[in-house]
Symmetry: C2
């Protein structure tokens, strides 16, 4: 279990903009599910908007459409195998929290559970469903963010297709070249 | 200059899904521009769709809106300083190709120039402007892709905010855990 602290919702880009694979957890009624997601982008700082493709083939798609909520969780390389296995199984057949030994933590604002073993959890409400029908594209607002204090730059997973992940490497600053830092 | 070869447009996720900073080049009439972009996501394999936030404060915004085309170029760490400088200057004031010594290569399908020094260039046409007004969100179709043959996993830049970039690290395969590899 990773101890997380409140984090500014307008700063979640710090973790999402580098493009990591995330785990999306959801609940509708008695059913929960988790899916692995690589197709997402930050869309606005405030309100804190994140756009995500959640294909209708995913069991989570309907649960999220109905509940209009989810949690975007950030796994690190400690969870590499679990991330791959979650992406290659279906919530229609198994309870992924049970199957993969993950802890469903109660979120503060939404009904969807957070994943206790992740570095960060972003509670989301569906903000705009205009492109859900056409592209399975959900625009969420991050309404509450929880992040572990260290490490400052966790080693995230970045999917390149064909079963291959790129692991986050070192960080470098070019702040001196920035006229307005954001 | 990087020698690039034809690449399957339905496989551009291999380079874009890991979430790198990209350089978007465009042309409208006699004007060209380049911008640094971190807010993008793959949306579909075929047609090959990429969604991008191009804020209206960027000089490129209007050029792309008018021409309905652009090229998404993939820089590597060789271009780190140029990437930062492009993101901190305006095409309304300077010619970025000239200023930063970049080569404008003729694209095959679109009128926008490709950046010769980048590892990959994806020629794009505006596919859906439904969310441009509300979110500055452009959905492009990649109509032609050009990629260097090596390295297979180029060292890309991933922006975390505050002037700090994460550099792509090593790659690992978990193909054995994949039931259907895509």
């Amino acid at each position: 279990m990773v101890k997380k602290h409140d984090f500014a919702v307008d700063q979640v880009r710090r973790f999402l903009e580098p493009g990591p694979v995330v785990l999306v957890s959801c609940r509708h009624g008695e059913q929960t599910d988790i899916m692995t997601m690589g197709w997402h982008t930050v869309m606005e700082f405030s309100p804190s908007l994140v756009g995500c493709v959640i294909a209708s083939a995913n069991h989570s798609h309907e649960l999220i459409r109905q509940s209009r909520e989810c949690v975007i969780n950030l796994p690190t390389t400690r969870l590499t195998d679990v991330v791959a296995k979650i992406g290659n199984s279906s919530g229609a057949e198994i309870d992924k929290f049970l199957e993969f030994g993950l802890t469903a933590e109660r979120a503060h604002v939404v009904g969807a559970p957070m994943i206790g073993e992740c570095h960060a959890s972003f509670e989301c409400r569906l903000y705009d469903d205009a492109l859900v029908e056409r592209y399975d594209f959900f625009i969420f607002e991050v309404v509450k963010a929880h992040v572990a204090r260290s490490p400052r730059h966790p080693q995230t997973l970045h999917y390149t297709g064909d079963g291959v992940f790129m692991l986050a490497g070192k960080t470098i600053s070019r702040k001196a070249l920035f006229t307005k830092v954001s």
